[in-house]
């Protein structure tokens, strides 16, 4: 009798787990598990952080796993990624220099007012590791990264790919407060929720994602900044660009970079490339953008943090004291 009870109990448990799994799958599809996922990762974080603290992880451990020949391929891919990033940086810098040159010519007639906020803001990148991602490779739904409130992460901060840094030089390299920061880092998304040790990232492809962007166009004369518009996620693998007036020119292959970061002029970050631009009958542009990152590359990311540079006087004094005597 006891044997029968035990057997029935096991089968009842198995059926209950099957039903529970189905319910959890349904909840996941309707995005009801976001909060629970963040809480779970926070609950698992003490053990994870403890293990990471006692065992220093090599930076390229994952890449070395694939064997010798794939490792060479990975190194080659890294090199290409670095070159691409450098190219993006140069493209953005080139366009900016051209615009600055044009402005300085105009300055003989019109006085140029410098945005006072730009000299007060400071940007830094906080590195983080991707813990988990949900969704299919074509359409990333959610991303959980290993940095939370304990690292000072707050909601709506931009998340970029881990290649390169937004700020990689300091006052030792002659960079002073007020210098503009350029970077070719690709934007992955924005911090949506922060836990104690983890944060949830809303990818650029998410239907609720919005960011002000600017087109960067290559022409025979070089690179030029184009129209400013709003990048919107579509819930699929691509994004949409809205707010482009019918008088503006858009071409396939145009680069899309950030116009500002949370309303403040900051580093130019790479969002993607225009893959299709159709002029609709209603006099509007239907512009589609392919984001500049792939899910397979996402294992390390960076969070762009903006802070106020309050000790400008101290920095100036420090730079002066190091100058030639």
């Amino acid at each position: 009798m006891r044997v029968e009870e035990s057997r029935h109990g096991m089968w009842f448990a198995a059926i209950a787990m099957f039903v529970l799994s189905l319910l959890v799958t349904a909840a996941d599809r309707t995005e009801m598990l976001s909060v629970l996922r963040s809480v779970l990762h926070d609950a698992l974080s003490p053990g994870r952080l403890m293990l990471m603290a006692i065992t220093p992880q090599p930076l390229d451990a994952g890449k070395r796993m694939s064997g010798s020949s794939p490792a060479k391929t990975a190194a080659a891919t890294d090199l290409t990624a670095e070159q691409l990033q450098m190219l993006r940086q140069l493209m953005i810098e080139n366009a900016r220099l051209r615009r600055d040159l044009q402005r300085s010519k105009e300055a003989t007639v019109v006085a140029e007012f410098v945005d006072p906020a730009s000299s007060l803001t400071d940007y830094a990148m906080i590195p983080a590791q991707v813990i988990s991602s949900s969704g299919i490779p074509g359409a990333l739904r959610e991303l959980i990264i290993s940095a939370g409130k304990s690292a000072g992460i707050t909601r709506s901060e931009l998340v970029v790919d881990g290649n390169g840094a937004v700020v990689d030089v300091g006052s030792d390299a002659g960079v002073a407060a007020g210098d503009r920061v350029l970077s070719g880092s690709s934007v992955i998304g924005r911090v949506q929720k922060t836990g104690r040790w983890v944060s949830m990232v809303q990818p650029v492809t998410s239907a609720d994602f919005r960011a002000q962007v600017q087109l960067l166009r290559t022409s025979d004369d070089g690179l030029h900044f184009g129209a400013v518009g709003m990048l919107e996620g579509t819930g699929t693998s691509e994004c949409r660009l809205t707010g482009i007036t019918y008088t503006d020119a858009v071409t396939v292959g145009d680069t899309v970079v950030s116009a500002d970061i949370n309303g403040v002029r900051g580093p130019r970050l790479f969002f993607g490339t225009v893959t299709s631009a159709e002029f609709l009958a209603g006099g509007q542009w239907d512009v589609r953008i392919q984001p500049g990152f792939t899910l397979a590359e996402l294992d390390r990311v960076g969070i762009v943090r903006m802070s106020l540079q309050t000790d400008i006087t101290a920095v100036s004094i420090a730079v002066d004291s190091r100058g030639p005597k």
Binding site: E4, S6, R7, M10, S21, H41, G47, L51, A61, I131
Partner: protein, 174 residues
């Protein structure tokens, strides 16, 4: 006490996988340990604990479908549920099924690994042949290389515990 110990082991195994996610494939540690706990406890509590841990792992790192927490409890129930037939101790011959009992754990681990790989494929449409080939050629050996020795180790540990009388009589293999 035993339940709490098992909970801690499961929690730590998920934490270890998360901490070393770049060198440990997803499920390489959690799957053999969860299967091992089902077989060690051989009770409703064991099945519920392990399946819940697998479900929590899926919520934390979602794939297409939680096939492991869905199907593994049923497979485990088939293998570990007590038999209604009394053991025939008078004859010394063992049946083939009983002789293969120590291999049940590696077998269920193999099944769990296969389910894990299937659940990682994009099942919303027919998976591409390249994806299946990649999963079988790359992910499966990487997973088995870690999970099978662990399940074999747990299997031997259970046998040792049986021999030393560290498990209850009703939980013995033979």
């Amino acid at each position: 006490m035993k339940t709490i110990s098992m909970l801690v082991i499961l929690w730590m195994s998920i934490a270890v996988e998360l901490a070393w996610s770049r060198s440990l494939p997803h499920g390489a540690l959690v799957l053999p340990i969860a299967c091992g706990i089902m077989f060690w406890m051989r009770s409703v509590t064991g099945i519920l604990l392990s399946a819940t841990a697998l479900l929590i792992d899926w919520v934390a790192r979602p794939g297409c479908l939680p096939l492991c927490p869905m199907l593994l409890p049923a497979i485990a129930a088939c293998l570990i549920s007590p038999s209604a037939k009394p053991d025939d101790y008078s004859s010394r011959r063992q049946s083939l099924a009983k002789m293969l009992t120590p291999l049940h754990l590696p077998f269920i681990t193999l099944l769990a690994v296969s389910l894990q790989l299937i659940s990682q494929l994009n099942l919303s449409s027919m998976p591409a042949a390249v994806d299946i080939q990649f999963a079988v050629k790359t992910s499966l050996p990487a997973l088995l290389m870690i999970s099978l020795p662990i399940s074999a180790g747990i299997s031997m540990l259970m046998r040792l515990a049986d021999e030393l009388g560290l498990r209850r009589a009703s939980q013995h293999w033979i």
